[in-house]
Symmetry: C4
Subunit: 272 residues, 4 copies
């Protein structure tokens, strides 16, 4: 079994090496990047984030098409832990499936369409109901980068309050079920990597599925560290400009991706 | 193994589809609903809630009979994690087993009898000792809906204080061991989906086993989110009328049920 | 696998039935009680409490001899998770092994010798480093019965401060390594079921291994509930005299014992 | 399976016996100590600490060479959970690999080089991102020895603030990526067993891999106990001089090492 893990690690390390030079697909050569490779990462990211307890029954991860930037790939409406290749649907930026007779999609797909429209740099979008970050939105407490590994976070992560976006009280709800709300969320996200959503969760973006997934994990860990530090009742230190700048030059998702992927495969029993 | 999960998911998705149109058995066609189907869900719900750490050694889930609304099904006195079809007993609303020579039942079965008597809309009752909700009862802190997925909760969940119900100090205890206390609990529940029980746990109801089980899980998650938000020491936002109304139109337990069921089956080793 | 669990459950239920009429070995008929049966429970309790994260690398459980009340059985110095029948040593109340060439025993065996000497009603002693109860001792915060299942606890659990017991500053430490300190601990325990030990853990006693083990588990759960309630910053309700009296008449460890035993066996892989 | 654990335990107990007389390699006879034995412990420690959730994707453990005290062994840049014998690289105290064509090493290897240079008593260094200790550094809260098993900690564990060490704002970051910062960290460590690193984690040292690993685990447990005690809002008791002195005479890592090793092997499936 240790031998199996090693073999799996060596394989993923080999692939990881190719990817480790580049954080964004834009910089990848054609051979390493393809829709199938992106979709494989998407399925893996869904399983990793479910295994870490960050994606629940309802969250969703997506990836932009490598061949048509006005399309993206998204699982049909189902729990992310159970997604397979066969569940992936190609969707356009009007949030309509490309193929006829597509299965039912998540009602909140507008999160993804509008973020891809607004941010050409974004290749992957992940929407979670992460319990570690929800208290920040509920109490309007700024989430801040306090960990060396969370230097991708801005000094204050923006918070989306759906009530501010949608004034029509009669039909108002918590979910981002139309383009109007999707646009409002994308606007609140701005150029940031993460936007919190009050009583709901967060949306994280990245230049690749791996980057978005690893940012989602370290947003969770940073939120837990800040929560614990705040419980001590004294001020806590936040990463400063020099530290954030140093991080930006080093952001590489490969090592944590490999680590969390092996952990997920072991939990699934695939490495036994 | 991934293939096995997929197969299991597809099967459950197929059944789920039929159920996803209806939250209540009342609306189900005769083919999909039967006592055996209800009992199968009851056993599954017991295992799911034990696997999530919400049902301990003593809690119990029940379901009303599909053929005789004055009867319901309940496991004999035993830990819910270990319940099987053979342990299920049919009970009438006077809390007596229908068949002679029935095995010993839980002393607290009066919770179920009296709630079924008082609430004809209720098809399933779940009594837990959930540690996440107990602090609310211990401190008389209102549990509130703070999460998008907990919109079934009222703005303030009622709290049952057994001391108020039973003035007879000499024989007083913590448990609901007779019809008098069961009636008092049902009265405190009123038309709500959940009633907290001081120092003890909670009782949750639903229009189906799936709905009651998923409400039990999201009561747990909502309690954890509110607890964390309160620890921040600032006010927190509660779902408002429009948000609760929007949720009510959308409540569907199938996706989380499928997710937590697969998780339980994997933990049991049934999907290896 | 479900079938295997059921079979194991039925077996243990059959044995459990015999025991469920009696909380104390004193009341058991000779057939059901024997040194071998007690030792089997001792090994099981060690594994259960390790599996629940309550016994760490150093804690220890013991049981009094059924045939000679001035002897008891104790594992040799080793982690409780790994104890087997072959590791059990018979010890007298002077804390000396009965057989020559016995393996090395825990330095803290004096906890057990002195409690068995002081309390003829006690048949089993468990010493843990339970992290859930340690904060109570560190801060001199009274641990109180707040849960329906923790009615065995007194309104205030006593706390042993080793510094008060041992005035000899030069050789003083944290551990109960001699009869003098063991006696002081037993005196602080008094007629209670539990005594907290500052910076160290707790010692729990029972009228059987099952009772001591289940009390250890519910002391942990009660401590977690009280800790959470205190974090809310408002007063919390404690079980009153009537509630404690009602509990005392009902204390039966069998159902939780069966539940935690199956959980441990499943974690060990014995039920796969 | 119980039989397998027992067998594994007996083997490790046999080896453990040899080691249990000595905390430091300096005192070990040549037969029991060798570079291969040290490297085997290093791989095991990496897996143990990952299994306990203390080492994440980035931390690293190292051990000094038994044959050349100016060399040490370190895994190449990879997640510690996945390290095998083949990933271990011999490094000199200038932080250069001894063999040509060595694989890429961790950027933070300077932590290890400079601590080995400064502390001839140190045989093993472990750098973690332990979430339980990070809040202490973030809030400049002294970590103190509150547990009987954490008596190796000084009354106040020093804290390394990387900003104080490196005044060159333009290139400043969070990581210890050069000899200058490594020296500053080693200086802050002084003669202590642990140094906290703000927003980053900690570095722990020991007279053997086992001692460093077990100290890392009990630093984690002590931090959790102190955090919980502080949440109670009242003063907490710290080990005093006599208690720390008593601990120093007794520090032996073998029993927890055996316990955590078995736990890791079981989690890996090696004991099924």
């Amino acid at each position: 079994m240790v031998r199996q893990i090693v073999a799996a690690w060596m394989l993923s390390a080999a692939f990881g090496l190719a990817a480790s030079c580049v954080a964004a697909y834009a910089q990848t050569d054609a051979a390493a990047d393809s829709n199938e490779a992106r979709i494989e990462d998407l399925v893996t990211a869904s399983h990793i984030l479910a295994n870490e307890g960050i994606l629940d029954s309802f969250g969703h991860a997506t990836v932009r098409s490598a061949t048509d930037p006005s399309h993206f790939f998204m699982p049909r409406a189902m729990p992310p832990a159970l997604v397979t290749r066969a569940d992936i649907v190609e969707v356009d930026l009007d949030c309509k499936p490309v193929m006829p007779n597509a299965p039912r999609l998540n009602g909140e797909r507008y999160i993804h369409c509008e973020v891809y429209k607004a941010r050409s740099d974004v290749q992957s979008v992940i929407h979670t109901h992460d319990l570690a970050v929800i208290p920040f939105g509920l109490t309007n407490t700024p989430l801040r980068p306090v960990l060396a590994q969370a230097g991708f976070l801005p000094k204050e992560t923006p918070l989306f309050e759906v009530r501010d976006a949608d004034g029509s009280a009669s039909e108002r709800g918590m979910l981002v079920l139309n383009a109007f709300l999707g646009k409002a969320l994308a606007q609140k996200l701005g150029n940031n990597p993460v936007v919190l959503m009050r009583g709901h969760g967060e949306t994280v973006v990245g230049r690749s599925v791996k980057e978005a997934a690893v940012r989602t994990i370290y947003t969770n860990i940073d939120a837990r560290a800040q929560t614990a530090a705040m419980s001590f009742g004294s001020p806590f230190v936040v990463l400063d400009d020099a530290e954030l700048a140093a991080y930006a030059k080093e952001e590489r998702p490969d090592r944590p991706w490999d680590n969390y992927k092996q952990r997920m495969l072991k939990a699934q029993g695939s490495l036994r």
